[in-house]
Amino acid sequence: MLDKQGIAKRIAREVKDGFYVNLGIGIPTLVANYVREDIEVEFQSENGVLGMGPFPFEGEEDPDIINAGKQTITTLPGASFFDSATSFAMIRGQHVDLTILGAMEVSDNGDIANWKIPGKMVKGMGGAMDLVASADNIIVAMMHTNKAGESKLLESCTLPLTGVQCVRKIVTNLAVLEVTEKGFLLLERAPGVSVEEIRSATKGRLVVPEEVPEMPV
């Protein structure tokens, strides 16, 4: 089974040379730490920066330079700043190659819910609805089950949707899955996790090929 760092590490393998990548808050943010150093990638943050670098050293924080999680950041050579309309032109216009975000629920037809729990949590969707409605290549990073142990991979989402039929791939602590017309196609198992364990933790339709390799980490 993977921890959050492990999920981020596995997703980092999906980041290819020349990609512009938008990382959501939470596990997706960790992906930046594991991208191969011999490829060229630029991270976009929807509040208006391309070419995001690591956190600043203490004493070098700049209140004018933050990411979408409102964290202080630095920029790398080649970086640029822009306004919010331009930022979402990059996103809606499909100039961003890969979007990685967290989710509360994903359905086996690719619907995603991650912005609201009626009566409990209403923080807002931020840029998530724009991202999932536009991006061609969306990877969800999340735990396979919620804190109550219930599957987050469902036949249909129970929470208010963020977007419909948009998720391509899901990387969880248990597995790598692809959304297909027949449901979640099981591509890889996390180290030490059996197909049976994944089956019992998945509520949506699950397609299990004859061979399910353990994921390379």
């Binding site: 929807e46 509040n47 964290q71 306004d83 919010s84 309309a85 996103i91 807002g124 998530a128 609805m129």
Partner: protein, 232 residues
């Protein structure tokens, strides 16, 4: 040169009244019009509708207006950092319209550019699209969103000149440029106000035509919301 300068925030907010709709730039606490917010608090105008990506924190930014119950309705994309906000929303004292971030930016930009409405894929199939016209283009579904109509836009820039030309710094740019000229009256406050001619025309981010009033801000706090650092 058409001069846009006014003496201070007090003069810049001339004409502000209860129940108006305001746009306020900023992302979190980054690039917010601190002086205009302080003046709104001082004037104690109420019943405001505020279009702003976020709602500040409990004791800063728009949180200051929320504390004094000056806001009737918030239009934002994300409001997660404010306990008082959550309390007022759940109790029904505060009306909240949550809007996808890119849609919020574009609704400002459309108002600035004289475009009454546009189609976006964001929110299709979700509760955001409820009651709105949807249409298919090239096999994909889109939601019609309308330009905002606002009385005042309050923006914050790094540098500005007497002609109202603006230059922003870092990610403090965010929604500010999209809101310039998107309301009846745009008020820009700047960290450094310089004479016309002192800013290179090639480097202007927002031309002065979109700004009605500009003033030199004072006492910027520029608070950091999430101070994150790495060790050496």
């Amino acid at each position: 040169m058409i001069r846009k300068t006014v003496a201070n925030a007090q003069e810049a907010l001339e004409g502000i009244e209860d129940d108006m709709t305001l746009m306020l730039g900023g992302f979190g606490l980054c690039g917010i019009p601190e002086n205009a917010i302080a003046e709104l608090v001082r004037r104690n105008v109420t019943g405001l509708t505020c279009i702003s990506n976020n709602a500040g924190v409990d004791d800063f930014g728009l949180g200051l207006l929320l504390q004094k119950r000056q806001i009737r309705k918030m239009i934002s994309s994300y409001v997660g950092e404010n306990d008082e906000f959550e309390r007022q929303m759940l109790s029904g004292e505060l009306e909240v319209e949550l809007t996808p971030q890119g849609t919020l930016a574009e609704k400002c930009r459309a108002a600035q550019a004289g475009i009454p409405a546009f189609f976006t894929p964001a929110g299709f199939g979700t509760e955001v699209a409820e009651g709105k016209e949807t249409r298919e283009f090239e096999g994909k579904m889109y939601v019609m969103e309308k330009a905002y109509q606002a009385d005042f836009a309050f923006v914050k820039a790094w540098k500005g000149d007497e002609a109202g030309n603006l230059i922003f710094r870092g990610t403090a740019r965010n929604f500010n440029p999209c809101m310039c000229g998107a309301a009846q009256i745009t008020v820009a406050e700047v960290e450094e106000l310089v004479p016309a001619g002192a800013l290179p025309p090639n480097e202007i981010h927002v031309p002065g035509i979109f700004v009605r009033r500009i003033f030199q801000g004072v006492n910027y706090e520029k608070r950091i919301e999430q101070r994150t650092v790495r060790s050496k």
